[in-house]
């Protein structure tokens, strides 16, 4: 119920009633007076009479079926004072005129003549009136037909409009209901989550880990769905990965010295964090360990995840992962600690000595660590042969 505009202690009842009545008028639509209705009706009629307002050829068909009006041929009722004595023969006419006084001795024909004359005049005027009336009726019939025709059209249009509006209303109502249900469901789902500020450091750490795990799980689930969604793209990626691996193997055969990093090496801590399982010896000569876990970088992690997915999931993915590298099949036999996923878990497994050695070592495998990638870029498999064997 909308509120009223009168906001005062001193209410005016007549003002409130006026507002209520205006609201009723708004609800009911235009509240026409009799004069307004007449005016509207006349306007509509004028519109109908406009030939451009006619919307179809029904009227023409009607006109074709109706013959043009022709007034009927009526007999001549003319009666003048000499009509009684008229004759085509001249002598006879003369004799009648001569003997008229004698005739008038027997009776007076003048009233008869006058009456018949008046009657003939009346007949003529009546015939003329009747003809005019017929013509008018004919015109009115056409007008009525026009009006009826347009009324039918308007009614049909209105009916369609009403149907459309009803359907739209139903649609809106259902959408509104759905939204309300959705809002209610969301409201019921929302749970109060306390802020992290109050938690101790250890718990915060745990929470982060849990969040990370949850996030990983979610990503894994998404990726598990990926083969179904992006199978063709994935096959291309794998094909490209295999080609890159082959190229890397060919390049590694001459055993070139470790190339200087193309970009500035990451800080030691970062490197340590990213390469937790690198032994001191491996770090000294710059080659990855045979038993080493993934060297570093998110690319490797993603690869590992893909491998895990291959183990858990579809056989085709596993076969692809093992394609060209039989050792993978054996390496895939155990899950290992890779399932922990995060770099932090791996860092925790390193001993302090290892960490110190790694820190002292020259920037070990620069490319996977430092190669920055666009976050939006799809993960491309890196040509890293060290990543294939897993403990």
């Amino acid at each position: 119920m909308p509120d009223f505009n009168v906001r005062s202690d001193a209410v005016n009842v007549e003002q409130i009633m006026e507002q209520i009545r205006s609201r009723i008028r708004e609800k009911r639509g235009a509240d026409y007076t009799e004069a307004q209705i007449q005016e509207l009706a006349s306007v509509k009629l004028e519109k109908f009479l406009d030939p451009r307002g006619v919307r179809s050829d029904l009227l023409e068909q009607f006109r074709r079926t109706q013959p043009p009006y022709a007034p009927p041929e009526l007999p001549n009722f003319a009666f003048e004072d000499q009509t009684l004595f008229e004759s085509t023969r001249g002598p006879l006419r003369f004799m009648r005129k001569l003997l008229l006084p004698i005739l008038k001795l027997f009776f007076n024909p003048n009233p008869l003549i006058q009456a018949l004359h008046i009657q003939s005049t009346l007949n003529a005027s009546a015939a003329e009136r009747e003809a005019k009336r017929d013509a008018a009726r004919y015109a009115f019939d056409q007008l009525h037909y026009e009006v009826m025709h347009n009324l039918v059209l308007e009614t049909t249009r209105l009916g369609i409009d009403v149907k459309n509006v009803k359907m739209r209303l139903e649609s809106l109502a259902s959408r509104l209901e759905f939204n309300e249900r959705r809002a209610r469901a969301l409201e019921s789902v929302v749970v109060y989550k306390p802020a992290d500020e109050g938690k101790p450091e250890g718990r915060r750490e745990e929470t982060r880990r849990e969040d990370g795990r949850r996030e990983d799980t979610r990503r894994e689930e998404n990726r598990r769905d990926e083969p179904r969604r992006d199978e063709p793209r994935r096959d291309d990626n794998r094909r490209q990965e295999r080609q890159e691996r082959r190229a890397a193997e060919q390049q590694s055969r001459p055993a070139p010295p470790p190339a200087a990093p193309a970009i500035a090496p990451a800080p030691a801590v970062l490197v340590v964090a990213a390469v937790p399982d690198v032994t001191a010896a491996d770090a000294a000569d710059g080659t990855p360990s045979q038993v080493g876990a993934p060297t570093d970088g998110p690319g490797q992690r993603s690869r590992r995840r893909r491998r895990r997915r291959g183990r858990r999931g579809s056989g085709s993915a596993a076969a692809l992962m093992a394609g060209g590298q039989p050792s993978d099949a054996t390496a895939d036999g155990d899950g290992g600690s890779d399932d922990e996923g995060g770099a932090e878990g791996e860092r925790d497994e390193s001993t302090p000595d290892q960490l110190a050695d790694a820190a002292a070592a020259p920037a070990a495998p620069p490319a996977p660590v430092a190669a920055p990638r666009e976050p939006s870029e799809p993960e491309q498999p890196q040509a890293d042969p060290a990543a294939t064997p897993e403990p």
Partner: protein, 486 residues
């Protein structure tokens, strides 16, 4: 001062509007003057059957003298004559026959008035349309004061009543609309008159919760109090309320209080509680959101005044000029002319609490300014004083002779009333300053008590006590002129 109150029925168990009005006036005037009530033995206003003993008795310490009704009403004769005088050209004799058929035909009462009116200063007649008022006023002559309690019904247009309206000493109207109508019909603007109305016995502490518990009523509700009759607009009320229920927006229940002679629609949100006593009635009004008055014809709705006294808004039928005028003048009620307006106004009051509250507040103030007992008493006493100090007019015009009475020259009464000025009066009612304390009676003394006239009259002790019992705080507002708060 001795005042006689003449009314068609009288008693504590009689709750008709004019009868209750007469009893309240008699009891309140009894605090300032010697009051005696003359009435009939009838209790039923349709049959006028003698059901009470004739003779003297006391009702609330007011002496009441009853006279037997000569014959009961014959509905067929009364209906036939009503049709004739209301809708056809007729004679004065027809009108007198109609009056005789309407009743209560009580020649003993008229004879008593003729014999004893001289012993009283004034005779106050209630309800112009009955036998006792017509013949009694003529018998009382210059001592007759009339409280017409006239509605806008065809009876007001009968030609026999115009000389009564012109011949009485004074007229105590209930509303400006009633005064405008009677002055338009009878041309009696020269007769002293005042718009008074009547107060009510409003309880100090109504108990709305008690009412809800007693009748198991929950949720908001609108209340109708009165006879549930088609003539009171109840059929239209049911139709409009059903339309309101169909919209399913409002939550109000309609609670009906009163005897029903009409079929009440079966709906869980229409509750009929039957006849309730005054305490329950006031509790019900206090518990309600608003009072609905669907009546088409009212000279003054006491229930509406009671609702206003309790701070409740009123929704009235706009076809009744009096109710509409009161709503406009008081700014304490809304009115409707159609089902749509009924639903909208009902919702406006239901959903806009500030409107309901303000209307109720205005109603309370309107009641205090115009219809609280000190104001009503003051108006009566002022009028009596004014009349006793003035000279009496010539009296009533004589009735036509035997031959003239039988000439069918009187127009149909319905046409006369239709031609009378109508519509609500928006001009504020002329009010007297509200007395500070209990109304002291500067009453005109009787000629034999002229020696006491010079002495100031102290308010009687009983008056002070009665004023102390007044439930609606008289002492809260002191000496402000009427309408000062607006």
């Amino acid at each position: 001062m001795k005042v006689a109150v003449v009314v068609q029925r009288y008693g504590q168990a009689i709750n008709g509007g004019a009868e209750l009005h007469a009893r309240y006036i008699a009891e309140h005037l009894a605090r300032h003057a010697q009051v005696e009530v003359w009435t009939t033995c009838a209790t039923d206003y349709v049959t006028w059957r003698n059901e009470l003993k004739s003779g003297e008795e006391r009702v609330n310490n007011v002496p009441v003298r009853r006279f037997p009704v000569k014959h009961e009403r014959d509905p067929l004769t009364f209906g036939r004559l009503s049709e004739k005088v209301f809708h056809r050209t007729h004679s004065v004799a027809d009108e007198l026959d109609w009056l005789e058929a309407e009743g209560p035909t009580c020649p003993g009462l008229v004879a008593h008035i003729t014999k004893h009116a001289g012993e009283f200063d004034f005779c106050i007649f209630f309800s112009y349309r009955y036998y006792h008022a017509f013949h009694g006023a003529r018998a009382a002559g210059t001592k007759a004061i009339l409280v017409p309690t006239a509605e806008r019904d065809p009876a007001a247009g009968l030609s026999i009543f115009a000389p009564i309206f012109r011949g009485v000493r004074a007229l105590m109207y209930n509303s400006p609309e009633e005064r405008a109508m009677i002055q338009g019909i009878a041309g009696n603007a020269h007769v002293p008159s005042v718009v008074v109305g009547v107060g009510s016995e409003i309880p100090a502490n109504p108990q709305p919760q008690r009412f809800r518990q007693k009748h198991n009523i929950r949720g908001p509700f609108a209340v109708y109090v009165g006879r549930i009759d088609e003539n009171k607009g109840c059929r239209e009320l049911f139709s409009h309320f059903n339309a309101y229920l169909r919209d399913r927006v409002g939550k109000l229940t309609l609670v009906l209080i009163g005897t029903s002679i009409l079929d009440i629609p079966a709906h869980p949100r229409i509750r009929h509680l039957g006849f309730l006593d005054d305490a329950d009635k006031f509790d019900a009004i206090a518990a309600s959101e608003l009072l609905i008055m669907p009546s088409f014809f009212e000279s003054l709705s006491m229930v509406a005044l009671e609702a206003w006294a309790l701070g409740k808004p009123v929704l009235a039928n706009a076809k009744c000029d009096v109710l509409k005028g009161q709503c406009i003048r008081s700014n304490a009620g809304l009115y409707y002319e159609s089902a749509t307006e009924f639903a909208e106004t009902l919702r406006a009051i239901e959903f806009n609490k500030w409107i309901a509250g303000t209307l109720g507040k205005n109603g309370r103030q309107y009641y205090r300014d115009n219809y609280d007992w000190p104001v009503v008493e003051r108006k009566y006493l002022d009028m009596l004083q004014r009349l006793s100090s003035g000279t009496a007019p010539d009296g009533f015009e004589p009735l036509p002779g035997w031959m003239d009475r039988r000439k069918a020259t009187c127009p149909p009464a319905a046409e006369v009333v239709a031609a009378a000025p109508g519509g609500p009066s928006s001009a504020p009612e002329m009010t007297v300053p509200r007395p500070m304390g209990p109304v002291s009676p500067p009453l005109p003394t009787r000629p034999q008590a002229a020696t006491e006239r010079s002495r100031p009259v102290a308010p009687p002790r009983s008056t002070q006590q009665a004023a102390g019992r007044r439930p609606q705080g008289r002492s809260r507002r002191s000496g402000q002129g009427a309408g000062a708060g607006r």
